[in-house]
């Protein structure tokens, strides 16, 4: 049993080395992090002592039902919140404030700046960060927009785009910055089912092209298995790590397969068992 698990670990490490050459140390380390936020009446503990490591070129998914603190966790990593306990480290530097090395794609469509065209929206953060010059930012922006197939729409303002197109601009904007880790907070949740599926496929294609490191938050088990290479399952109230699973072998084409279904069922049971415990409490109140 022991031998088996260590062998498994070795195999995993080998896979990690293969996918991300030279990156045996994690890019992002979340170490025993407890996050709390205040509402008008309560102090809410969103996550309790959550730990995980994200390696280079990971498609790391935070999965859980609403209330498991996955979005709060992402905000903590982005630097919008300070952990009450524990540490978040990016390349061995402790995260203290928001910064362009952790570009974020939000769920809401209004994340693009309405007073800038698509092109300027992608250029803007590059200019603000001061990492690239004027003409270089422009070229990089054009390339990033071309990658998400929006070259024709460069000069439009965001209010003229559909929801899916806005999310693609947001992804292009984030990718052009070459962040150490790309944070995605349910980026496709507000899209219709057909567009969502298309966006998932495009995101995977983009990942195969560029091999960026991303942290993806979702509440859809299916999306987690398709998009993710590794899934962190969180249980709610407060958010705690339930499991960490591999899903790198699954894509859209395996969706009907028995292994896919098996993983789907495993995760579903993990989340469902929590919900059963929760129901009588609600009934009492």
């Amino acid at each position: 049993m022991l031998a088996n698990s260590s062998e498994h670990l070795k195999e995993e490490r080998a896979v990690a080395e293969e996918t991300a050459p030279g990156s045996t140390a994690p890019v992002l380390t979340v170490d025993n992090v407890t996050l709390q936020y205040k509402t008008r009446e309560h102090l809410v503990t969103a996550t309790y002592r959550v730990s995980f490591d994200v390696f280079g070129a990971d498609r790391f998914v935070l999965l859980g039902p609403s209330g498991c603190g996955k979005s709060t966790l992402l905000k903590g990593i982005a630097g919008f919140m300070r952990p009450v306990e524990g540490e978040i480290r990016l390349d061995d530097h402790v995260v203290r404030r928001p910064g362009p090395d952790r570009m974020m794609v939000f769920q809401e469509f209004d994340q693009l700046l309405p007073w800038k065209t698509v092109l300027d929206n992608v250029i803007f953060p590059m200019r603000v960060s001061g990492k690239w010059g004027r003409s270089e930012s422009r070229e990089r922006a054009l390339a990033a927009i071309a990658k998400v197939n929006l070259s024709k729409f460069c000069d439009l303002h965001p209010h003229m785009l559909s929801g899916g197109m806005k999310q693609r601009v947001a992804i292009a904007r984030a990718m052009a910055m070459e962040p150490k880790v790309l944070l995605m907070d349910e980026p496709f949740a507000a899209l219709d089912a057909l567009t969502r599926r298309k966006m998932q496929e495009e995101l995977l294609e983009l990942w195969h092209d560029v091999r960026f490191t991303m942290l993806f938050v979702t509440h859809s088990i299916e999306e987690a298995i398709i998009v993710g290479s590794r899934i962190l399952v969180l249980s709610p109230h407060p958010g705690q790590v339930r499991a960490e699973l591999n899903a790198h072998q699954f894509g859209h084409s395996q969706q009907g397969g028995s292994e896919f279904q098996e993983l789907h069922r495993t995760i579903h049971e993990m989340l469902f068992s929590e919900r059963v415990e929760e129901t009588p409490m609600k009934g009492e109140v």
Binding site: F80, G99, P100, M104, D110, L113, P114, P125, S129, P158
Partner: protein, 295 residues
Amino acid sequence: MENAATTIADPPVRPEFIKEHKQVGDIGDVERPLSTWERFTSHTAVRRAFIIIVLAVAWELYARWVENPLMLPSFSTVFSALWEEIVVGPLIDRTITTIQVLLIGYSAGLALSTVLTTLAVSTRFGNDLLSTLTAMFNPLPAIALLPLALLWFGLGIPSLVFVIVHSVVWAVSLNTHTGFMSVSETQRMAGQNYGLRGIRYVVLLLIPAAFASILAGMKIGWAFAWRTLIAAELVFGVSSRSGGLGWYIFENRNQLLTANVFAGLLMVIIIGLLVESVIFRTIEARTVRKWGMQR
């Protein structure tokens, strides 16, 4: 279940069909050019000009019926007086004087409210300061401060500028601050995510994001400033040789040149209309409308 079955019967099972896509021919003329009349009336300027013409005609008819040029000169008399005062009279000079004072006061007011609102969004003390000051001074009519201003700054431009600044700064600050507060959380986070902080955050993110409210505040501020200035000038002329528009109106009333009084008032209206419909409308079209923040 049984209840539902007794009240509403199952829908009938209907045959299925699939249609081929057909050429629609003549009716498929999806776009049709608008008629000349439709295009003509779709211009806001045309419709508004029509309203002005109707008002002018009504005025002319009523004045001719009353036949009392001292109390109510007809539109044509006023119009020719206006023309004459512009071409040979002092009206243009007076207007320029007024506008100069107005611009000084207005820009000083805008600058002050920029400082106040920037302070208000960056510190809690600034926020409290702005809220308290606006609550105290916004209801206070600027013209009520004129006696005090005269005492402090004497007769002349500084007093006028003082009351204009007072009338502009609270209206603009209030609107700008409300605008800043209502910038969406996502946009704020996006800005911080880029690494924007401090003054750059205000200038590059908050101001454009709140621009619709800021513009509304600027419009209100402009109207307040304009009104305050004309009223203040009615009380006293500018000390040096040439007074402003308000003084012009006051002078002509004293000499019972009613047509000139009306000409002065018309000038006030014309400038107000121009600023509103040319300057502010252009800014609107190039910013908030283009950005889809306002329809």
